[in-house]
Symmetry: C2
Subunit: 208 residues, 2 copies
DNA sequence: ACCTGAACACCGTTCAAGT
DNA sequence: ACCTGAACACCGTTCAAGT
């Protein structure tokens, strides 16, 4: 017999989809504040469950962080792919790369706490959470493909693609994380135009 | 009358230089592990003092972190200045910039925990710790001076210096922090040669 | 002036028990 | 199978007291 709980949407003794509910609550909690505020106990409280119940789905706090990060990588990847699809088909390689860079930093600046969880700490030190690595590999592949295409069409320099990806990623990640900690003081409304300006000279270093 | 303590170098009831001792212990603690392991209580324990004594010198934990960060900014600045002085006087602007970039990422990779404290979180949110900002401003000035000099001598493009500094800093900070969390898997022995390769095409984007 | 000790409200994590 | 409650060893921070 289902019974009503006053605090949550839970109708039964068993939650049903506790894992997803916890991740969702964690993301909401963290975006309302900061990664430091994310605790297993607070997340459980929000879902309306004893904090011990979370251990059914996450071996420890790091596992919850990894789940939040995974969720973030998925969204970041979608944002990057989305940025490419809205471009006119005759967009040059440098324009496509710039669009990717802008999508990247926009994602990061709009969800700074999530971004910090994704990149602030080594989460997969002991090799659990391999879906995390798969998603990163997909993002890497996306960038590598763009750079390779630019080389094939004769627009980009013949440097090893791996190094170009590293440089491009360093540039966007650096900009994003410096903006998040406000070492780079970028007004949100100017983020797109300004990041274009900043990336411009560096990306043009890839052209020949 | 001074009395001997078995656990520390302390000879008197009053420590003498507790503040510095705490910062030093914090730096050692953190480099032996990670920023997460840094607690006010553990640092106090290492210095041989009640954890409450630390509050005489630091209003809260963030103040201790800020002191560690400040110490780090000083060393980073020294490393960057040092890198320039060892260059031959006829080194071109791009070479000088590359030397700065290499010194920067070397510092970060060699003391990852300290670097994470310096750049992982907003420490000066409420405007205490303004020496922190002064040190950052000095590093900024160093970079801006180099870039401006390169423009004056006709080596670098005429982009606004501010944007060039942002791009350069994004590149080095991005590389450093991705290397620290092992998203970029750089072997320490190859750090210098590899970072040169990665930065090369991007820095050449500044030349004309 | 500087340091200590007890207390409070939090953590993450473990163990034994409930439904 | 899944969830709870009490307990443990930690935190940061506050208050009242010691030297």
């Amino acid at each position: 017999m289902p019974r009503r709980s006053s605090k949550t949407t839970r109708d039964t003794y068993h939650h049903g989809d506790l894992r997803n509910a916890l991740v969702k609550a964690a993301v909401e909690l963290v975006e309302g504040s900061s990664p430091e505020e994310l605790t297993l106990r607070e997340v459980s409280r929000r879902v309306g469950v004893n904090h011990r119940a979370a251990y059914r789905h996450f071996a420890d706090k790091t596992a919850l962080l990894a789940a939040v990060a995974e969720d973030g990588y998925r969204d970041l990847l979608a944002a990057m792919e989305g940025a490419l699809t809205t471009l006119p088909s005759r967009a040059k390689p440098a324009e496509r790369l710039t669009a990717l860079a802008v999508a990247y930093v926009t994602f990061a600046v709009d969800q700074p706490a999530r971004y910090r969880i994704m990149f602030g700490r080594r989460l997969n030190e002991d090799g659990r959470f391999n879906t995390l690595e798969d998603l990163v590999a997909r993002a890497y592949g996306l960038l590598a493909g763009e750079l390779r295409a630019g080389q094939v069409s004769g627009h980009f320099t013949e440097h090893p693609v791996r190094e170009l990806v590293f440089g491009f990623w360093s540039l966007t990640h650096g900009f994003a994380s410096l903006a998040i900690v406000r070492r780079l003081k970028v007004k949100r409304a100017l983020l797109e135009s300004w990041s274009r300006e900043v990336f411009g000279p560096f990306i043009s270093g890839l052209s020949r």
